[in-house]
């Protein structure tokens, strides 16, 4: 058996069914072995697309996503996706070929020190020096990617190691390590604090996406309101009256007010990102914070925890739920209900309305993938996420170009391209005219495998989020954000890839287009042309506290004030 065969057999033994990759010189022995392997390879058009597809795959399944690239530029093209997976804690295995061992370090053709380059953006990485080590290294890499707080792991294999013969046994998957249970004394202390709270709030992040039943049970038993971060959307149903929305820079009025005034804040599987906290010195100033996380390095990193619980989210909540009872906090709920009613005023036609119209045609089981920008924040604000692992976006890294390939990975994961077990679950991508063009080449991959992603481009002719900041903080000096004069015609672009395309620039047309777009059997593109200068609100300006949030666009406030006079 060659090193390449050992690699593929190990992946197979670990239940890997798909690899997103792109071949090249230094990975050809693996591609040769792939020819006889039951693993399906999805040929992407850029390695970054393969990386994001693996992320989408991992996020939807809760398991491993695998991507593969050749040496040098192939490997460096994976870098953005690895950094993205690191910040959003997604278990990715990246396999790269490298130049033959004797040439390592000689500036050989297509050589890049990818283990050096990816050191700060992977959980760990390996350079395999010997074919006998391939199987055990890959098995170890998979275990590292999945255990504890998940993350990306890269395995770099020089070409001669791929070709060399080995008799080393194929490693079988390790039994999953036991769930990390919390310390009982700490749980009892936390429970007592929660029980004494007058204005409590539970804030749930992406680390709690396997704890949705426990979150619901805890919330119902205690009556505590629940906030879900950008990465945590869907971990608590949006239809539940106890849900306050998303916190942070573009969070809901209710969430940000509740954080600013609460006396006990439970942070579950979340890491107090600066986009969530705003100015940290003003964050939850009156609160004692209970921080539950599986990664102790997150405790006290940015916000001091009054009680730090080092445990699996589900395990910690199960333990807490046993020790708490219903909290009677009617005054708190009066305030919360008042804040919940405060929604920003939005124009009757625009990006927000378009996203609402798309959203209204979807079910809670459908998967929604956003790119990065205004449309991302609007989707997070407006789509009612009911279930975990149904919302994909680039939260930590904010990677433009994430949407299309991640949606592709999600669709492959649920088997919607091969008549698998998709069970009517649809995958919807919502991107901007700027972000979509960063990975638009993956339309070819959708076509090749007939992956039925429904991809919407909300086109406002600008890099909208940057333009919004320029409008608010740079005196409307719109520096290098105008795209309208050079944007492609998206339906024509789609048809160039032999994918049906639709376009609408008003609500009545959009209504019709959405229906046709969703009915396409296979991939389809929908362009929605919307007014150019709309902004996303509420908003906490960078560097301000959550209590300094602007509930509404000053443009509207101004207009309202004028109307009064």
């Amino acid at each position: 058996m060659t090193g390449s065969e050992a690699l593929l057999k190990t992946l197979e033994a670990h239940g890997v069914r798909h690899i997103f990759g792109h071949p090249g010189g230094a990975i050809m022995p693996v591609y040769d072995a792939l020819y006889d392997s039951p693993i399906q390879h999805i040929l992407v058009r850029h390695e970054q697309g393969g990386g994001h597809a693996a992320e989408g795959y991992a996020r939807v399944t809760g398991g491993l996503g695998v991507c593969m690239a050749t040496s040098g530029p192939g490997a460096t093209n994976l870098v953005t996706a690895l950094a993205d997976a690191m910040l959003d804690s997604l278990p990715i295995l990246a396999i790269t070929g490298n130049v033959p061992s004797p040439l390592l370090g000689t500036d050989a053709f297509q050589e890049a020190d990818i283990t050096g380059i990816t050191m700060p953006i992977t959980k760990h990485n390996f350079l395999v020096r010997n074919a006998d080590d391939v199987s055990k290294t890959v098995a170890k890499a998979i275990a590292i990617a999945l255990e504890g707080r998940p993350g990306p792991v890269l395995v770099d294999i020089p070409k001669d190691v791929q070709q060399a013969q080995t008799n080393a046994p194929i490693e079988q998957p390790k039994t999953k390590p036991a769930r990390l249970e919390p310390n009982q004394a700490v749980i009892e202390k936390a429970a007592a604090l929660i029980q004494s709270a007058k204005q409590p709030v539970l804030m749930v992040g992406g680390g709690a996406c396997d704890a949705a039943p426990q979150i619901l049970e805890f919330a119902k038993k205690t009556g505590i309101p629940v906030i879900t971060t950008l990465m945590g959307l869907g971990n608590f149903p949006a239809s539940d009256p106890q849900w306050l929305g998303m916190p942070g820079m573009h969070g809901s009025v209710a969430s940000n007010r509740a954080i600013s005034q609460c006396d006990v804040l439970i942070g579950l599987g979340m890491r107090f990102d600066d986009r969530v906290t705003g100015k940290t010195s003003r964050f939850a100033k009156n609160a004692q914070i209970i921080h539950i996380d599986i990664d102790t390095a997150e405790h006290n990193k940015l916000i001091p925890a009054y009680i730090a619980v080092h445990a699996d989210s589900a395990a910690a909540l199960e333990a807490l739920t046993k020790h708490v009872s219903k909290l009677e906090t009617p005054d708190w709920w009066t305030k919360l209900e008042d804040w919940k009613a405060r929604q920003p005023k939005r124009p009757t036609w625009g990006a927000a309305e378009a996203i609402k119209m798309i959203s209204s045609q979807l079910s809670g089981a459908d998967i929604v993938v956003a790119d990065v920008g205004q449309h991302q924040m609007l989707t997070a604000q407006l789509h009612p996420f009911e279930q975990p692992r149904k919302w994909l976006n680039s939260g930590g890294a904010g990677t433009m170009g994430f949407c299309l390939p991640a949606a592709m990975g999600a669709a492959v994961a649920i088997g919607s391209h091969d008549g698998g077990d998709a069970k009517g679950v649809r995958v919807i991508g919502i991107a901007g005219d700027g972000s979509s063009q960063m990975t638009i080449q993956e339309l070819a991959t959708l076509r090749k495998y007939d992956i039925p992603v429904k991809f919407a481009v909300i086109n406002n002719g600008y890099l909208g989020m940057v333009r919004q900041w320029q409008e608010m903080f740079h005196s409307r000096r719109y520096s290098e954000v105008y795209l309208e004069d050079s944007n492609p015609d998206f339906p024509i672009l789609a048809s160039a890839y032999r994918i049906p395309g639709f376009a609408a620039d008003n609500a009545a047309d959009l209504e019709k287009c959405i229906r046709q777009w969703l009915e396409v059997d296979g991939p389809a593109v929908l362009e929605v042309r919307v007014p150019q200068e709309a902004n996303v609100f509420p908003m906490v300006p960078a560097g301000k506290g959550l209590d300094e949030m602007l509930d509404d666009d000053p443009k509207f406030l101004e207009a309202r004030e004028l109307a009064k006079v």
Binding site: P120, K123, H124, N300, K301
Partner: protein, 185 residues
Amino acid sequence: MKHIFSAFLRDEPRVLTRVTSLFARRGYNIDSLSVGATEERGISRMTFIAEAPEHMADQIQRQLEKLEDVLKVINHADEKFVDRELVLLKVRVSPETRLEIRMIAEDFRARNVDVGSKSYVFEVTGDEGKITAFIQQMRPFGIIETMRTGRVALSRGSNADIASQVYGGESTALEHPLSDVGVRA
């Protein structure tokens, strides 16, 4: 505040780069760092000193312990420890200064390891205060060059459970202190 740490590392390729790159990217200020083999094959030990407020010292420890090849990190601020540093110092000598230099060296118990007609090389071991004082005393004579190892530290007392904490209880070297260090049955 200065914190002195010991870190136990697996002898894997680039482990030092992983550690120092983490220091650099998270902005930790490291005053000194020294690494060497331990009594256990495949495991190195690093002593390093960081200038950091309390909460950052805690972060340094936790972030380091997240690295796959870092087995354990001890912050010696939490316990009693001994630390030493070794310095090699080459000082200019002349017939007029020779005697005085030798007398100062004797006060510091510094060993003269290279006697030349125009220079001496001293080896001196001690804690940071002693080393600094020795260098100060030699400065007026003209220091040609110095090399310091950086501080190394060990916990005081038997702390016999360190093996189980670091090596998962597999160390034979520590269970049998007289056995041939590094050689396993």
